[in-house]
């Protein structure tokens, strides 16, 4: 343990440790100033000793060999992969895009028609009718049937068709 260290000592030690690391890789072997620092600095001397202690540990790992069974196991995994069925061919992109476009169009028209029903202007009795009719429609439980109709018929025609189907006498008026 070094009793006191100045920032100059710290940076000298930091530099020395970088150079000790380089020395582990074989360069620079002859560095008199590094040797002088290590000789004078117990902390760096201890660092150098510990670096040397690591060497045999790395050597032991360099000598490690994979177990014999690893290659047969690998080839077995390859064989298993090869026997798997080929993935299902993808649908041609043109078909995918046209069906997506059609679905998006239907969705858009549905939202548009429902929006018109819900935001009907309160100007006259005739224009208030859609909201009232929608309420009745929900009560009658005929939402899904009427929903399809919304896409095909103008609003007033849809309401007339619904009134004919509804069981609510108020809607038949």
């Amino acid at each position: 343990m070094r009793p006191t260290t100045s920032s100059t000592d710290d940076s000298a030690c930091e530099l020395a440790r970088k150079r000790l690391s380089l020395r582990q890789d074989g360069e620079p072997r002859d560095d008199a100033s590094l040797d002088a620092h290590v000789a004078a600095c117990p902390s760096c001397a201890e660092h150098a000793r510990r670096l040397d202690e690591l060497r045999p540990l790395f050597r032991s790992l360099r000598e490690a060999r994979p177990p014999e069974r690893l290659l047969p196991e690998l080839l077995e995994r390859v064989a298993v992969r090869r026997t798997r069925p080929a993935p299902t061919p993808r649908i041609p992109s043109a078909v995918t895009w046209s069906s997506r476009a059609a679905a998006a169009g239907i969705g858009f028209l549905s939202i548009l028609a429902l929006g018109r029903l819900l935001t009907a202007s309160p100007a006259g009795e005739e224009e208030r009718a859609p909201a009232r009719s929608l309420h009745a429609l929900v009560r009658a439980g005929g939402v899904f049937t009427a929903h399809t109709d919304l896409e095909l018929f103008p609003e007033h025609e849809f309401l007339a068709r619904f009134a004919a189907r509804s069981t609510d006498p108020e809607d038949r008026r």
Partner: protein, 196 residues
């Protein structure tokens, strides 16, 4: 197509790999299996994890041999594939505590199959390596186990040479701090988490 000067693999073996030929894979394994295994052990520390990773790397090799363009040497490309695979695996498992891995390493070393000569030293090194960041570990392992030059390590990891040198110094400093005094037989217990 790959240029001949960089190709350190028989072109026929490479062609076989590209065609998905298992015998080409076996040949490649005979040439590079030990290197890949050492790298995986150095990076993952746990022998069973390393064995699994070796197989995964060679399966990846079979899938990706077509992507090898010959701009680097084949061995450099395979090193990169291995290091990236191991680092990705470590990233996924970063919640595993170093302490838990310590216990696994002790258990693993105690099995008869692992009582081979030098295994004790490998386990000790693995315990030390576990406690330095994987990025530092990668540089150290490529240098110490594979003996790659700084330039080659830089190529494998796609970092500047200066970064390789500074990471090496920091990795060694980190490891040296963990080395016990000469009279102490084992690594001191720490609560440091694996820096993933």
């Amino acid at each position: 197509m790959e240029s001949g000067k960089h190709l350190d693999l028989d072109p026929l073996v490479l062609a076989g790999l590209r065609a998905g030929d298992p015998s080409a894979l076996a040949e490649c394994y005979r040439l590079y299996g030990a290197r890949v295994y050492r790298l995986c052990r150095g990076l993952l520390c746990q022998p069973t994890d390393a064995e699994d990773a070796v197989q995964e790397v060679f399966l990846k090799l079979l899938d990706r041999a077509g992507q090898f363009e010959g701009r680097a040497r084949f061995s450099t490309w395979l090193h990169r594939l291995t290091v990236n695979h191991c680092l990705h695996r470590l990233e996924k498992e970063h919640r595993r505590r170093a302490d838990a891995l310590d216990r696994e390493l002790v258990d693993d070393a105690a099995t008869p199959a692992r009582r081979a000569e030098g295994e004790e030293s490998r386990v000790l090194l693995a315990k030390l390596l576990l406690r330095i960041p994987p990025a530092h570990r990668a540089v150290l392992v490529l240098r110490e186990l594979e003996g790659l030059a700084y330039v080659e390590i830089a190529e494998v990891l796609a970092v500047p040479v200066g970064t390789v040198m500074s990471r090496l110094a920091r990795a060694r400093e980190g490891l040296a701090r963990l080395v016990p005094p000469a009279s102490t037989p084992s690594v001191p217990a720490t609560t440091t988490r694996t820096a993933s």
